[in-house]
């Protein structure tokens, strides 16, 4: 993940006109890299890349293969599939974090990227939320309700939990969407050692 500067977006697209359109749309907000095929994409991919926009239909190396390679190399980035074909359930199983129907409009593309950047924060913010709730739970186990009601520290903790939960829920987005839901779970499992 890029530490400083704008987020890095890698566009993998074999049609030069399409790739150029995306680049023009995105360059004011992101550091955009373009790869015309899967093999080039793999050389462009490093720890700085935050989001990959991956065309599903490419000659030589298909989008699925690039995705598999990204996951095998354990690169911490989120991958959106761009496809003219209406996505079926395979998308979720294959491990794409989102999909965009081709041709996308500008808002759709940037909206997807922003959602995926939010999701990159999800695990850390859920961890923070968990720590606060765990502290609250320890206090509840040690102290009486009357003691808690009088404690300013406890009241401040309750407020922080509320704010952190709001932040997490905003990052979660709409959980009725399958890709968003499975993507969020995948995000927390990446940190669970060996699972």
């Amino acid at each position: 993940m890029s530490e400083n500067g704008p987020p890095v977006v890698l566009v993998v697209e074999d049609e030069p006109d399409v790739a150029e359109t995306y680049r023009r749309w995105l360059r004011s907000s992101y550091d955009v890299r373009v790869a015309p095929d899967g093999a080039t994409a793999m050389t462009e991919l490093d720890g700085d890349v935050d989001v990959v926009l991956l065309d599903r239909m490419m000659p030589e190396m298909a989008g699925e293969e690039v995705l598999r390679e990204i996951r095998d190399r354990e690169i911490d980035c989120r991958v959106a599939m761009v496809s003219a074909v209406d996505p079926d359930f395979d998308i979720v199983e294959m491990g794409f974090d989102a999909y965009v129907t081709k041709p996308p409009d500008r808002d759709e593309l940037t909206g997807t990227i922003e959602r995926l950047l939010d999701r990159a924060e999800l695990n850390d913010d859920l961890q923070e939320y968990y720590s606060l709730v765990a502290r609250q739970s320890a206090l509840q186990a040690e102290k009486t309700e009357a003691e808690l009601a009088e404690s300013d520290e406890y009241a401040a903790l309750v407020d922080r939990i509320e704010r952190e939960r709001e932040r997490v829920d905003e990052e979660l987005g709409d959980m009725s969407t399958d890709t968003e839901f499975v993507g969020a779970v995948r995000e927390i499992m990446d940190d669970e050692g060996g699972e």
């Binding site: 859920l126 968990y130 609250q136 829920d169 959980m175 009725s176 399958d178 839901f181 499992m189 699972e195």
Partner: protein, 220 residues
Amino acid sequence: MSTPYDIDAVLPDGTIEALPPGTNVLITGPAMVGKREVAFKLLASGHETGEGVLCVSTSASASSMLDEFERYVPTLDRDRVAIVDCSGSDSQRAIREIATERVSSPGDLTGISIGTAKLLQRFSEQDVSDVRHGLVSISTLIQYLDLNTVFKFLHIYTSRIADTDGLGVFTLESVSHDPQTVNTITSEFDCVIELREGEDGREIRVRGLPGASRTWRAFD
């Protein structure tokens, strides 16, 4: 769905009779107090009005789960029961009879989420929009994963159930975990149903919902 999930007659009079869409319920209590039974009854009590049941089973096989359901709903419509089986059982019976997705281990939360998403999609193709989601039990997940991972998963999964207007029913064995752990898990739920063995038999208490009385009452 805008009408509440009916749970009439599952809990004693004067507790709760219906739950709003998007509610997540946790059932806690010591071992052998009947948490699974209450969970199954809550899950099955809308079955006759066309609702679906989607249950994640962390240790029982899909076929024993199906047997348990049929005990509570003799007229079970098998098209509206779906199970994510994490037991590792290789019994083929239930898999032939009801929609089943198998996950290799209860620790594979990504697999569980994919399984539930597939089964929910199947319900939506059948025009079953009101779905009760079970997860039996959280205690097994805690044996396989760090508490913080289980907590994060529950936050995501309960949000999923809320955002799809479902009803969530989860169980937790309260005695084998320390009070802090139980409090942490409990905080993710809208409503907690506690069961215990009292001197004169089983008792129940409901917390969290407006109007729910916090006193223990007899529950046979």
